[in-house]
Symmetry: C2
């Protein structure tokens, strides 16, 4: 079976499909893991998990037994689900109350031990499904699902590289449009509009129910030195106290560090990248902080070999920052530091594993990370860099195609 091509720029109809072989491999690994965990079935409600195992994001519910074919119950809209998904069993339903009826018809009975996505499923939804499907036990299936999603296939790496290509063009465009007097919001939104023209879906997928998925996080000068609501080294001003994070109304000025952290998504696959920009050069301290972040970035990627633990990479980042006398600013100002220097990324902007203190997960080939060493000088500025890389036998290999540099425009 050949790989589904991406839509050409001239196509007026989205033609991207997840190949049948990808879905079959994912389901085989899921069923193997379910059997090892003693799960009789999983019932997937969250869009991204469903998309990963079915190839469609239509309004549907995916039932995967530990053995035998999965069943996709489609509420809206079965003809599109059939075009998009290679699954054999796609069953339109007018009401979710049909699901237990159809399951009993097919399987003879309802499963006793049914995995659900307990990290995202709201309590009321959980109670509804438990009442309808009557399992004896409902263990949390999410850790298992996310572990499988963490290791990307060659096909997925190729998709991430397509997103990286779109993102590299977007960062190149940013260098052309950066100008003093633009507000952070104007700069961010022009970059976003450009990316949308190249196929950016406009909305980043985040798993946490309070998390925010906006693309352009632009923090200029002192806005880079502001902690806030985000679990990030700096939050910026945002547009109002109702949305107090990211780009705000401050105007860009010459000779100040501008942190541009930009999230991209194409065909469902995300990149998360940051570069420093400046108009007309930077003072020495600011410039040297930018270079220091790049040094940590480069060293960590080289060290990201299979078997190294996520926690060991984190400690190495701290050691390097300390060696350069930058421990105080590293990962946030004192008292407000984040506890990770990178995170997994793929169909969601932030996925496990985290490159974080004490995390014992060993890196594996095919794991993909967004690595983001950042320095925050409170009230003054931020300096940092973020790229996406894949773990290979020879160490990390950059998926990001944006030049690893400080952009002095």
């Amino acid at each position: 079976m050949s790989e589904a091509p991406s839509a050409s720029p001239a196509a007026e109809e989205p033609s991207f499909r997840v190949p049948a072989g990808e879905i079959a491999g994912r389901l085989a690994r899921l069923q193997e893991a379910m059997q090892a965990a003693g799960l009789e079935a999983v019932f997937l409600v969250q869009t991204v998990d469903r998309f990963y195992f079915s190839g469609t994001a239509q309004d549907a519910f995916l039932f995967v037994p530990a053995e035998g074919p999965p069943l996709l119950f489609v509420r809206r809209f079965a003809p599109r689900a059939r075009e998009e998904s290679p699954l054999a069993e796609i069953l339109p339903i007018e009401s979710v109350r049909r699901i237990p009826v159809l399951l009993k018809e097919r399987l003879g009975r309802l499963p006793a031990r049914l995995g659900l996505e307990l990290d995202v499923l709201p309590v009321n939804d959980f109670r509804f499904w438990r009442g309808l499907l009557e399992p004896r036990e409902c263990p949390d299936a999410s850790p298992l699902l996310l572990r499988l999603r963490g290791r990307k296939s060659a096909w997925e790496i190729a998709r991430l590289e397509e997103t990286a290509e779109m993102s590299a063009r977007t960062f190149a465009h940013m260098r052309e449009i950066l100008a003093p007097g633009l507000t952070e919001m104007e700069f961010a939104s022009r970059a976003e509009a450009y990316a949308r023209g190249l196929g950016h879906a406009g909305l980043l997928r985040v798993r946490g129910f309070n998390a925010l998925g906006y693309p352009g996080h632009v923090l200029s000068g002192p806005n880079g030195g502001r902690p806030g609501m985000l679990d990030a080294p700096a939050s910026g001003s945002g547009t109002s106290c109702a949305f107090p994070a990211g780009a705000g109304p401050r105007r860009l000025r010459p000779r100040e560090p501008i942190l541009v952290d930009f999230g991209s998504v194409k065909n469902g696959y995300h990149l998360d990248e940051a570069r420093m920009f400046a108009i007309g050069g930077l003072p020495p301290e600011e410039h040297s902080a930018c270079r220091a972040a790049i040094l940590i970035h480069d060293r960590l990627i080289a060290a990201a070999r299979p078997g190294v633990t996520a926690g060991a990479l984190f400690e190495e980042a701290l050691r390097l920052a300390g060696e350069m006398g930058l421990a105080e600013a590293f990962l946030g100002p004192p008292g407000h530091k984040v506890r990770f220097v990178g995170h997994g990324i793929g169909l969601e902007l932030v996925e496990p594993p985290f490159l974080a203190r004490g995390h014992k997960t060993p890196l594996e080939e095919g794991m993909v990370f967004a690595l983001e060493p950042k320095l925050v000088f409170e009230g003054r500025f931020a300096a940092g860099v973020e790229s996406v890389f894949v773990v290979t036998a020879a160490g990390g290999r950059l998926i990001s195609r944006v030049p690893v540099d400080v952009f002095l425009c």
Copy 2:
């Protein structure tokens, strides 16, 4: 106490604040409702609910007892929470494990009957908080919170009118930039970028864990006739099967109906509006469908008086569509119709009450709705209109300022 002004266009720092009197009134109504419901306290985790009752969206947890001052526990970032919120008791915490300790210190004991947001709180979070705060009972507080949020104050109506002003300028800009050959994505993203320059926060808030909050839903010609994953009369093509809704790569053509459904948010307050556009006129059937949607829109707004039920307005919409011979296309093609003709709106894009079949909620003064009569001709096109109005003693009054018309550009 005077009203907090919005940031002037020249301000480089967001200055919007929720006035102390607003917060005090909301909390008084909440505590009255809690006493009536026998709730000892509520513990608010979701950002929007917390923002409504505290004035800040920092990373925090809001504890409101049935009597006495609320406590805001702030994880990140207390100095900003203190600037933004008029609450007296703002307590920074380094770990959430401090919360029960501080509650016992202040109240003598932990509450036995603690309301939580069970419609959004994921199972794992719920179990964590239940283990930490040890209530005997955890009823769902969300219906009560959402009922209070449903009736807007004069101050909130004024904020919605500011968003409406921004949105009217955005729709005027769309009329200038509409051109054949642009893709739906390009057109949507240019409109979004323009709105961002005026203070649009870029991201719409939606409550459902699988719901999507993207601003520009542009469906041209046959893309308006495509059902899909959305609980909407039409879903469009989207950018790929990973994101199969909204604007896609199709190019805009002359003499076809273009449905532009655009969500706006400023200072936390949303508008949701739709207008029909066409380049160089429309054929008679298409044009007449657009006018029919406007007729239903105008009649329903006039009929939206206090005491009329949400269900009665819905039935009136069906009756009008039937009278014009348009029942088959109304609210979606046969077999794929949505069950509502409008929804509440405010700090979230979609809020209860719904203008839906059988809903007995009587309209009250100050309730704000997005009304969206739409006609979908499967495989051919959509025609519709959407505006936001507030219920007054004299009937609905438009908050939307976009001319109620078909834009032939």
